[in-house]
Symmetry: C2
């Protein structure tokens, strides 16, 4: 077929480069389409408020491994990762649709388990399951979720609103999900070499839960409302802190300084990273799948942030010319590049 000839490898562009390339001539026709491609969710003007729409594809062998991912947890997580995108706009999710492709190795009991997790997430996050599609699949398990949410027009928060001197804040702690994954992968390879050995996962419940049953930060959106905190820019941390900081700076036309010593890391994550001979900061910066929120607020909002145990100020916004820098514990400054750190991480992991 013709598409096999003159092939340019997609990996050269990366996911974000590919989307940017494919949508560069995308013309918006409706004034109701307030924000199209390029943020955590699309924004649609429906009159008195904005609707938010976000979609994600989860593929077996790419996004999950059923060797250690229980189907109920997978169902739960597939909803969470989409709700997180709605919260990242400062909105509340109201509805989801779920499409599933199933190869014939899955029986009814397996799909029921998956749906138990989907239903549980919908209950916990007060979301209605409103539609979807099921199909057979030649490619293992495929899950596609679309989340729909809403937000008042004055509260919608884009990646692009960060201002000079704003504080950079994260919710929760970072890197746990990645270390959970490392642990599961290690035990999987031990088991595949010697099935007699039982997995050694003890004492690491926190990181395993971060990987297998993450939560989305609806509570943070509710606290913004309660304490009248207005983030100037926001994004959810799905690809890793470094990547998300770069997105905010790119879209806001600014730079940032992040302080290594400020990055919140749970002690289980920290210790496990050390056991794996990984730098805990690198793990926190590049691990991904944390589903925490990264946001910026004006300095004048500092009093509303400082004593809240969910929030950590990790740095501040600078001008574009100053670049995006990680300030190490010894005071030296390093330019932050998602690719650079990612490459570094891969080298450490032997990938």
């Amino acid at each position: 077929m013709s598409f096999k000839e003159n092939k340019t490898e997609i990996t050269a562009l990366g996911e974000f480069g590919l989307i940017k390339h494919l949508t560069k001539d995308n013309k918006i026709k409706h004034p109701e389409t307030v924000k199209a491609v390029g943020d955590d969710a699309a924004v649609i003007d429906v009159g008195d408020k904005y609707m938010l729409v976000s979609t994600d594809l989860l593929l077996e062998g790419i996004h999950f491994d059923l060797t250690y991912m229980p189907l109920k947890h997978l169902g739960y997580k597939s909803i969470i990762v989409n709700l997180s995108d709605i919260y990242a706009m400062n909105g509340l999710a109201k509805q989801v649709t779920v499409s599933i492709g199933l190869s014939n190795r899955f029986g009814l009991e397996a799909v029921e388990e998956l749906y138990k997790g989907i239903t549980l997430a919908c209950e916990q996050y007060n979301v209605d399951l409103v539609g979807g599609d099921t199909s057979s699949s030649r490619q293992g398990l495929i899950i596609s979720v679309t989340a729909v949410g809403e937000i008042s027009k004055e509260k919608v928060t884009y990646r692009s609103g960060a201002k000079f001197n704003d504080l950079l804040v994260v919710s929760g702690d970072l890197g746990g999900s990645f270390m959970g994954l490392q642990l599961l992968e290690r035990e999987k390879s031990v088991f595949s070499e010697n099935p007699e050995i039982q997995p050694d996962l003890g004492g690491n419940d926190y990181v395993l839960e971060r990987q297998l049953k993450p939560e989305a930060r609806k509570d943070i959106i509710e606290q913004f409302e309660q304490f009248q905190i207005k983030p100037t820019a926001m994004i959810d941390i799905s690809d890793g802190l470094a990547s998300e900081v770069i997105h905010i700076c790119d879209q806001s036309g600014c730079g940032a300084n992040i302080y290594d010593e400020k990055i919140p890391i749970d002690h289980t994550t920290y210790q496990l990273a050390r056991d794996f001979e990984l730098d805990p900061s690198v793990v926190a910066l590049n691990g991904g799948e944390d589903y925490e929120l990264l946001f910026t607020v004006a300095q004048s909002d500092y009093d509303k942030i400082k004593n809240n145990p969910h929030f950590t100020v990790i740095g501040h916004i600078t001008d574009k010319a100053s670049g995006i820098n990680l300030i190490a514990k010894n005071g030296t400054s390093h330019e932050l590049t998602a690719q650079g750190w990612d490459a570094f991480l891969r080298k450490e992991k032997g990938l």
Copy 2:
């Protein structure tokens, strides 16, 4: 893994049975969720109007075969099948999101072709591409599209609104897409047995286009508006006329009589069915992928329908006790069952 044990085959339930089973305990929490699972699109109250959301998953090897499906056409069709669901609610589509999973056999040029078709459909149907997701895939091409539309509250049309004595009407003609598929499959198997033989597709442009580049009936929705036709129930014909009539009758709590001789079949479709030794009526009833609209109107609207070349009255709604019947050309009546006809068709096709 536990889900391999005690396996109940999903095929025993069928797609609709599976969705019904999985969502039987689905609790709706938000009053804004007007219609959840069970119609062509979900309906969400956003204040002055309703938003419509519909989603479909298209999988290589299940829904399309890249041996004969050009990628640009596939991109176009992936949008069309979703827009058709919005039109089936009497609404207009405004936005789509597109998620794509790509195995490494696809290069940038292939994805660009796919996007050309997606972009063309968005232009033709006045729809904005507002988001999506791209991912690598272990096997083959995966496309997930979500369409968002809107409809005024008084005009939304469900599957459930058909009334006793209403007329059953279809747009366009049926069975063409299925015969296009049969032709492509035949030429594929001829080619695989002897690559020297060039495909013989001549004179069958109509059915090939119905299969490879179908259109959705936005024009019909515009005519409803123009001629003030208010369908009482509506569904799009994606699985075949028989299946869709049964959906309308099930959800409206009624029966129907359909007249075999009234079913609109294009002469190319008819002749090709004969060449393949298939009954053209069976093809039209069960072929699927026509993306025409099946709707019911009150008898009082007959004058608005009768001279419109896009519309064919194929029967009428009866009471539930009378069942769903196909009246043959000789006047005999046969109970219409989607499975029965499907099984018959499969036998004829040797499947």
